[in-house]
């Protein structure tokens, strides 16, 4: 059993982790234009400061034995009514520290990259303020020691995401996308809200340690309900089926935002929530199965959408959905999968951030063009971007020894430990990943130039390429480092549990089969998009391609099922309110008004109404008194 220790030594700085970027955001927002020149640097400094503290905490934690790595810092009593007692308290353990490191380290790189990427944006200061707000909220999300405080971080990242998707809000599409993301996430929030209520009613507490300690005493039906509600929340935040429709539109935001929020960190919060609540899912088989199903559906949806999009960011967004699908899928497998869900989350966080920043670097050199049909042959012009992108590419499709190979392979292996059919499905999806990523690389870096006339591609400045290089190194070595040097599964085990069961076939068989399928997918992609010319106008495509270009009709379905009925009924209700409810009142009033006119023609409106009301009142009074007498 893990001990819970008070936050001492370096851990007493736990609150500072969050306070630093929060203070940065506050200064930049309240300071206004005065902070324009130095604000962005302050923003970077606060995040780097948090990253340094986080690394020190990691070292301190590694020095402790495995069962003494959970520290809790009670900052103050936050919400307390009767038996509902919730502290503003932070919890650092093996699970939260890996998130803190991912958020602050990848965050710091993306902040630095943004200096270059947003160099000419007049609202650069605001951009950094929002990014700071995001980092603070995300850290609160993963450090909260209870569900209610987690909710604050959860919504805080949602707000930051809203602000940053709509950052270029002169574009109506950006403003609409921001609102859509927030409203769809609110559907997930209903899940989280009700889950927290049910947790409190069941366990009398919303603190993780209290809840997980009592799971054995609750009945399975309740736990299943909690698990499904948390899954709804996770589906919203992590763009999983059926709440996936917002992520593709979210690409309206600046590319560093897509990298940090909509690929590496925020969208993986759903996976965190499920892994954190592992005790609940372990005891609620049906809910865990639902998690697997949602993950599996999304793996394929995302991959199919990613295969059809010509917009490089949207294709990557589809890929993100699909990869997070893998994580959710793994988390649903239970103790055989949690550690690998987090493992894949970490490697994906690094390589997908690299891919997005690489895409941003390409766009930077292509006048912000995103259409891959207008790219081609960029490998010679943007050498560093090309090489670093290739590292990310090899990582995501899972070629050894790149980082994604290790984490995805473990997930596929875990799937076979459970059931060969879902394992085969996971392999098939890996093949599609091989296809769409090869397609992306081929259309962007290989083949012939298809640039528009006024485009003069060039490599990006060092402030952008250096983060790319660091992320590429991470994409290459991080998987091995975490697995062989960090022993990630045993590191996480005390928090999320880990077990391994034998598979029907030896492990190497799955590895080889997966690799073969991935390479077949890649070859199909290569033959179609590198060996043949890519037409500038997209061909009509088959039924599936056309559907995938429309995000598999996610928006159309939402519109028909939810949006239109809502607005129609709202309009009907407005008419009803004006005509019927208010109409009745007005009718009564005018009736009364006529009556009173006859009574006192000479009086002003005010006195007339008042007098009449007095008459009415006197009658009512009389009736009331009589009734009182009678009783």
């Amino acid at each position: 059993m893990t001990e819970i220790l008070p936050a001492e030594g370096v851990f007493s700085l736990l609150w500072v982790l969050i306070a630093l970027p929060a203070a940065g955001a506050l200064i930049l927002l309240l300071g206004g234009r005065r902070t324009n020149t130095w604000g962005p640097y302050l923003g970077i400094l606060t995040v780097v400061g948090s990253a340094v503290i986080a690394v020190l905490m990691l070292l301190a934690m590694m020095a402790e034995p495995a069962e003494q790595r959970t520290v809790i810092q009670n900052v103050y009593d936050w919400v307390f009514v009767g038996s509902f007692q919730v502290s503003f308290a932070l919890q650092l353990d093996q699970l939260s520290i890996v998130f803190v490191l991912l958020i602050t380290l990848v965050g710091a790189l993306i902040f630095i990259y943004s200096l270059g990427y947003m160099a000419h944006d007049p609202d650069r200061r605001k951009f950094f303020a929002y990014l700071n707000l995001f980092v603070a909220a995300m850290l609160l999300l993963v450090l909260a020691n209870n569900y209610l405080l987690l909710y604050v971080g959860w919504e805080g990242v949602g707000l930051a995401s809203y602000l940053l998707i709509g950052f270029w809000q002169r574009k109506p599409t950006a403003a609409a996308a921001a609102k859509k993301a927030f409203v769809i996430n609110r559907v997930g929030d209903v899940g989280l809200s009700v889950a927290i209520m049910l947790i409190f009613v069941t366990f009398g507490s919303v603190t993780f340690q209290d809840v997980f300690g009592q799971v054995g005493e609750a009945n399975e039906g309740t736990l299943t309900a909690i698990g499904l509600l948390l899954l709804l929340a996770a589906a919203g935040k992590s763009a999983q089926f059926p709440l996936q429709a917002w992520l593709l539109d979210a690409m309206e935001g600046p590319t560093p935002v897509s990298a940090l929020i909509h690929a590496a960190t925020m969208v993986t919060a759903g996976v965190y929530l499920i892994a954190r609540s592992n005790a609940i899912y372990n005891a609620a088989t049906w809910a865990a199965t639902a998690v697997v199903v949602v993950g599996l559906i999304t793996i394929f949806m995302g991959a199919i959408i990613g295969s059809a999009k010509d917009d490089i960011k949207k294709s990557l967004a589809g890929s993100t959905m699909s990869q997070i699908g893998y994580m959710v899928f793994a988390a649903g497998l239970g103790p055989i999968g949690y550690v690998f869900a987090i493992f894949h989350l970490l490697t994906h966080g690094v390589f997908k951030a690299g891919l997005f920043l690489g895409a941003g670097s390409v766009m930077h050199g292509m006048n912000d063009g995103v259409n891959m049909r207008r790219y081609g042959a960029l490998k010679g012009v943007m050498v560093i971007t090309f090489i670093t992108f290739m590292a990310g590419y090899l990582a995501i499709i899972g070629i050894p020894p790149f980082s994604g190979f290790w984490s995805k392979d473990e997930i596929i292996h875990a799937a076979f430990e459970r059931n060969s059919i879902i394992g085969a499905a996971a392999i098939l999806a890996a093949g599609i990943t091989g296809f769409y990523m090869t397609r992306m690389v081929a259309m962007t870096f290989f083949g012939k130039k298809r640039w528009e006339d006024d485009v003069h591609p060039h490599e990006s400045p060092k402030v952008m390429t250096i983060p790319l290089i660091i992320l590429a190194i991470g994409s290459t070595f991080m998987g091995m480092a975490l697995l062989f040097w960090g022993n990630i599964e045993y590191w996480l085990e005390p928090v999320v549990g880990y077990e391994s069961v034998p598979t029907p076939l030896p492990t190497w068989v799955y590895i080889v089969v997966t690799l073969v399928v991935v390479i077949i997918g890649a070859i199909i992609g290569w033959v179609t998009y590198a060996r043949k010319d890519v037409p500038i106008e997209a061909p009509r495509g088959n039924l599936l391609t056309r559907a995938a270009r429309q995000d598999l009709y996610g928006d159309a379905i939402n519109d028909v099922l939810v949006v239109e009925p809502t607005y129609k009924s709202a309009h009907a209700l407005t008419t009803f309110d004006n005509k019927a409810v208010d109409g009745f009142v007005t009718w009564t009033a005018s009736f009364v008004g006529d009556l009173s006119k006859r009574l006192r023609r000479s009086q002003t409106g005010f006195a007339r109404s008042y007098a009449l009301s007095m008459v009415g009142g006197a009658i009512i009074l009389l009736v009331a008194l009589i009734l009182v007498r009678l009783s």
Binding site: G32, V79, L148, F606
Partner: protein, 524 residues
């Protein structure tokens, strides 16, 4: 505890201030504003001084108690005192009055359509402040009723003299509705008096004495309706809400803030202070109906806000939806729900103020148009204004981290504790709330700049020092209390618990799902 008559003093200062303002010559509008501002700040200072002396752990039902005979023949006393609920609402009123005075600094002058004078408006605001403090402080039901009714007069003139083109229609509608509700209450009040004569020998309006009575349930049910009707119009609950959109649309922003932000809270305050303790059996009897009305109100208001074309009407319908939440929390009879309701009252006061004032600043730059379609892309030319508007919008959709979230979540949790499905259903309201609130922000503040805003004479300038000074305290309180609600919770919960003790409804079973435990789930 000192013997200083804090509550009377806090009520009398604005009254004297209003007299002084009213007696000034019309030629000195600036002096009138300055005096009003200073008086309201003095009141705020006194309120803070009083609040600091309030003892959250006291077992006395009321603190700062004063009582003098007023009409001895009828057992009417001038009795005042506050519990935690009254205290936070007085503090809310004392905070919002200086804010609205500052925000409305330029609203009256140069307004050709207004009939009234500058000093008149500010004198009315101060009179209203005195009455608001009185209504929350009264511990004699008759005194409460007097404040409740007299309050209509300054509001009537504030809408009817200083409002928009349809102001007299709106003012009359407001007055008729309120008077009707007030008359029902008067009837019930007389009935209550008769009951008190029978039970106690001599008639009384003293709140604590009335609470101590054991009224026959059928009588309770009748008298309950009289009070409830008045409160449901004031709050306003569906279907008694139709005066609110008109009043909000025709009022000056400052008037709306005081009307919806503070005054309407008298309705929900009345429910928790008077209805529940005096008529416990009736409250329990009617609870399902009231909860039904509250639920309808939550969704009805939110749905209509979704289609609103006029900002002020949107705020009115959104308030209606929020009053649904507040009422729901009161009538589920749980400590969590009722504490949530009172926190929500404060939060709603703050968010209403932020919305109306920011929108008011915006409209003052666009010939007072409240049509959402007249705006768009304002963020581009007035980022500070848009920033405050966003805070107001987020506060109104109860974003976690804001005080409205604490209120809303506690209400929902309190409802959930009592009736799981009611709580779960009401939670769906947060989706529609987000949809209308963000739709408003999107249509008015983001996107390309509305071409008509670039036309001559319509240029939107950003907020100035005075306007920022008015909004800053509200925005700061919204966030600070969201992260640190202890000052509210410390005083509200004991008052709520006392109410629930009187009502004597059993607390919901804690850990109800733990019944019939199965050990199957514990294999790990």
């Amino acid at each position: 505890m000192t013997d200083f008559p804090w509550l009377t003093a806090i009520g009398v200062v604005p009254l004297i201030g209003s007299l002084v303002v009213a007696l000034l010559p019309k030629s000195k509008p600036m002096l009138a504003k300055q005096i009003a501002m200073i008086v309201s700040l003095v009141v705020l200072g006194m309120t803070i001084a009083m609040a600091l002396q309030f003892d959250g752990k006291s077992t006395e039902p009321f603190q700062f108690v004063e009582s003098y005979p007023w009409i001895p023949a009828f057992g009417v006393n001038y009795s005042v005192g506050v519990d935690g609920i009254g205290l936070v609402l007085i503090a809310l009123a004392a905070t919002l009055v200086p804010v609205t005075i500052l925000a409305g600094w330029r609203d009256i002058e140069g307004d050709q359509e207004s009939e009234g004078s500058v000093k008149g408006y500010f004198a009315l605001v101060l009179v209203l402040e005195a009455l608001m403090i009185g209504v929350f402080a009264a511990t004699d039901v008759f005194l409460f009723y007097v404040f409740f009714e007299v309050m209509l007069v300054p509001v009537y003139f504030m809408i009817g003299r200083y409002g928009g083109p349809q102001r007299s229609y709106a003012a009359i509608k407001f007055l008729l509705y309120s008077l009707l509700g007030g008359l029902f209450m008067l009837a019930a009040l007389v009935g209550l008096y008769v009951v008190s004569i029978r039970q106690l020998g001599s008639g009384t309006f003293d709140f604590l004495a009335l609470v101590g009575m054991d009224i026959d349930p059928n009588t309770q049910k009748m008298l309950f309706l009289g009070f409830f009707f008045a409160f449901a119009i004031k709050a306003p609950l569906w279907p008694f809400h139709t005066w609110l959109p008109d009043a909000a649309a025709e009022s000056k922003p400052g008037t709306s803030v005081l009307l919806i932000g503070v005054l309407d809270k008298v309705g929900t305050f009345g429910m928790i202070r008077y209805l529940l303790p005096i008529f416990p059996a009736a409250s329990e009897f009617y609870a399902p109906v009231v909860i039904g009305m509250a639920l309808i109100g939550i969704f009805y208001g939110a749905y209509i806000a979704l289609t609103a074309k006029d900002m002020k009407r949107l705020f009115a319908y959104s308030s209606m939806s929020h009053f649904g939440f507040i009422t729901l929390g009161i009538f589920v009879f749980t400590s969590i729900g009722q504490t949530g309701s009172v926190v929500y009252m404060v939060a709603h006061g703050l968010s209403t103020a932020a919305l109306f004032l920011t929108a008011g600043f915006l409209m003052s730059r666009r010939r007072e148009s409240a049509l959402i379609s007249d705006y768009g892309g304002v963020n581009k030319v007035a980022p500070v204004l848009a920033g405050f508007f966003l805070v107001a919008v987020l506060s109104s959709l109860a974003l976690p981290g804001m005080v409205s979230f604490i209120g809303e979540f506690l209400v929902l949790l309190g409802a959930f504790e009592r009736y799981i499905w009611v709580g779960a259903l009401a939670t769906l309201g947060i989706v529609i709330t987000a949809a209308y609130a963000l739709r408003l922000y999107q249509k008015s503040m983001t996107g390309p700049l509305n071409p008509s805003l670039e036309a001559d004479g319509n240029t939107i300038t950003d907020l100035k020092g005075r306007e920022i000074t008015a909004l800053m305290p509200i925005a700061a309180l919204t966030v600070v209390l969201g992260f640190y609600p202890a000052p509210l919770l410390n005083v509200i919960e004991p008052a709520v618990d006392r109410t629930l003790e009187i009502v004597q409804v059993d607390a919901p079973d804690s850990g109800l799902s733990l019944d019939g435990l199965s050990s199957e789930g514990s294999e790990q």
